[in-house]
Symmetry: C2
Subunit: 515 residues, 2 copies
Amino acid sequence: MKCAEQQTAEGILFTDQYQLSMAQLYFRAGLHERQAQFDHFFRKYPDYGLHQAGYCISAGLEWLLDWMEGAHFRDEDIAYLRSQRGRNGTPMFGEDFLAWLRQHGNFGGISLYAIPEGRVVHPNVPLTVVQGPLAMAQILETALLNQLNYQTLIATKAARIRESSRGGAVLEFGLRRGQERGANAGTRAALIGGADFTSNVGLSHVLGYAPKGTHAHSMVQVYMSLGMSELDAFRAFAEVYPDDCTLLVDTIDTLESGVPNAIRVFEELRRKGHTPVGVRLDSGDLAYLAIQTARMLDSAGFPDTSIVLSNDLDELVIWQILTQIGEEAPRYGVDADRLVNRMVYGVGTRLVTSHGDAALGGVYKLVALHSGNSWAPALKIAESASKTTNPGPKRAWRIYDRRDRATADLVSLADEDPTTAERLTLRHPSDHARYRTLDKNQLAAIEPLLVEVLREGRLVYNLPDIEAIRERRRADVAHLDAGVRRIMNPHIYHVSVTPKLWELKQRLIAEATGD
Amino acid sequence: MKCAEQQTAEGILFTDQYQLSMAQLYFRAGLHERQAQFDHFFRKYPDYGLHQAGYCISAGLEWLLDWMEGAHFRDEDIAYLRSQRGRNGTPMFGEDFLAWLRQHGNFGGISLYAIPEGRVVHPNVPLTVVQGPLAMAQILETALLNQLNYQTLIATKAARIRESSRGGAVLEFGLRRGQERGANAGTRAALIGGADFTSNVGLSHVLGYAPKGTHAHSMVQVYMSLGMSELDAFRAFAEVYPDDCTLLVDTIDTLESGVPNAIRVFEELRRKGHTPVGVRLDSGDLAYLAIQTARMLDSAGFPDTSIVLSNDLDELVIWQILTQIGEEAPRYGVDADRLVNRMVYGVGTRLVTSHGDAALGGVYKLVALHSGNSWAPALKIAESASKTTNPGPKRAWRIYDRRDRATADLVSLADEDPTTAERLTLRHPSDHARYRTLDKNQLAAIEPLLVEVLREGRLVYNLPDIEAIRERRRADVAHLDAGVRRIMNPHIYHVSVTPKLWELKQRLIAEATGD
């Protein structure tokens, strides 16, 4: 895309046509400025096929706010809408509606509550609550879902990879396999969720991290095609980067050529007073090769040199590699724990695409419309009870048990405050037979989850920097039970509703279905 | 991201750190301006798990060229690189290298050949050939793979969905589930590969299409929460869009409420001289509901009204729906073929994420380095023979048999011209025992696939508009055997190398491994 086209395609028109059709309908009905409330939430954790997430990590809010700040209907956007024709050749959009859009078509009237970035989040709890004029709150839907769905998906995947890597550094390498410039959002979300660094230069700059990387096979090929050798290539690299020397050792043959050549170069570096950093293994049986590489590095006197693994890694592959190392390393006289502690993981494709489940099904549902002096709750009935939305303006709470572990999230109506109750009843959101009761003395804390972010378009929230977001993620994950953190078949975390919300929902279902 | 940050993260620094590390190494070695040649190709068709692609559709070139045109090292990019520190605290990049980057760090020296967008493409055939100064050709890798991998992946998925939809219109609806603004690239690729229209307003504008859409459940909810009904909502919509009226009928109950209400509104429209467009089904058993909806529409005298299906559709789901319709429709007195002909498919998440295989593993490999007066071929040996690259500057050809069907792609060395040979030997690229021989009289045509696009940074190719690209795709797909087009277990299309290329590769393998 050319630059001007990009401004068009990434501005306010980054939306679905039906949002505009509905906005005009609301305009005709005099409802366009009626205050409405939409909840954004997801219904299911990512399911990667063989394994499933037990929690998600919220991400994407700051970039959504940046987009909202600038987005508005420019003259050229209006001109385009004016040119749209229906089937009978008449304009799709009327001049009165376009004039309103030109003047009011921005997000200055939107108020927004959100669960902050980096927080552990669960299904059916509102992550974002949008309140504002119906037409603009509706037009916002597409961009909001686009930004929050993807970053939350990737932060979640990164948290899982971090979990399986047992403390080894995780490097995000996915730029070449992401969806065009959206890959940058993947990098950011990966850093929020669990990656330590990224190879992405531009985004490292923007976020204030040192970008990471070694070299490619092509560097060795260059030297070989000039009649030189892998060793010559390694020497050249070590000469330019004597204190930052990580060598890719699988261009020819990892154990026969790459590692021995790397060790020769590392010895030369050591003689000159430098400390080599590591080797990278990018193909073959990574567990076996890591063990043999460790053995060779150990006997050459490089017991602390890193071993970087890459090549279609994800949480399962890393888990398998570490399991195999645990079983096989002793057989070769290699201490498995010491080996695990020196390993680093370069994770690309499978992180940036959330391998196994490439989209988070976050949705944006109308929950209330202002009518007279109060909110009229709105409901979306679905074929299955579990997909029927929770109506009305709401709040979300996290309940910590006496061990200070998060034991449940609770969704209440907006006028409820569970922190003041002596006893809490947690109802299953769709199964009337399931509930539990907690006495206040069984709990360490009840924490409100949603914070006020925008008040009629004005930022009233102090956006944390990325380090603070990461710290938030670390703290939240530490408050989870081990069973919820488990990579495979995790415990199902409880998400409950209050009896009052439950009753409202049942009443509205009965009204809508005529029962 | 703020606007200035976006310029940083989407400009020349949209690359991996190791590209810059290698570029500086080449600079130190005096190799940075040495002419190099890289091939971009993919090794395997997308494998969606239960089903696999038998061909891909090339896409992404134009947007890559747009990016290359503007990308260069700005003062602020240089300042950032200057600030990077290695482990010992000294600058990662030297001032001489940074000065060179500031002056020469753009793609003005790059020549590029490519298989045009919209063409059917196959594994191990170079889709893009980049020739230019080693340092800049290396830095280009990340952005090139990012743009071409993703769009080719999605154009391929769209072609499959088109194949399974048997002529029904395909609407792309994936904006909310793509990777941030990269979703726009998905929309473009979907239109290239097989979608007829998209809901994406901005990109429809940029590409000159009418965006498509109906309305959301929220519109019905709005009316219900104000004490009105689904019928009131439908009437309001029909009043605003009397000639463009497609109604979403599953907010309450598709067959009990939605379709009967839609029919009432359609009858009202008809009385006023308007033609209703369609209904949309977004949940439940879509095949069963489509049959019942058709039946109800037919008996109300709306036999041509469209039935739009949506809800996690992909090529397999559509195939299943059409199969079920073929079997069940007659039982309800509905003509299956007529029903299929009135159906439209809204495809979102599973198209924009290429459900089942969310990344195309396209790679970018050094194949030659200029040395003295000629090209020294470069080889990348891999653990498996099939992953070892084809060395040297090359050309690519498509061979059509007497039925004018594409029967094989042939990769030759650059100085070979198979069109002049009386007889062709097509060798399997890695199995020495497999080859076949074709006489010229068995062939309808031998077509060169790569066109010259950039000559030292200058565009020498007439970029086709999107309609021409789509026409190219239609023509290419029509030249494929039915077995190759099959959605499941397609025939493996032959990709061969010439004997001369085969021999060069074998010689280089022997040299590299010391055999």
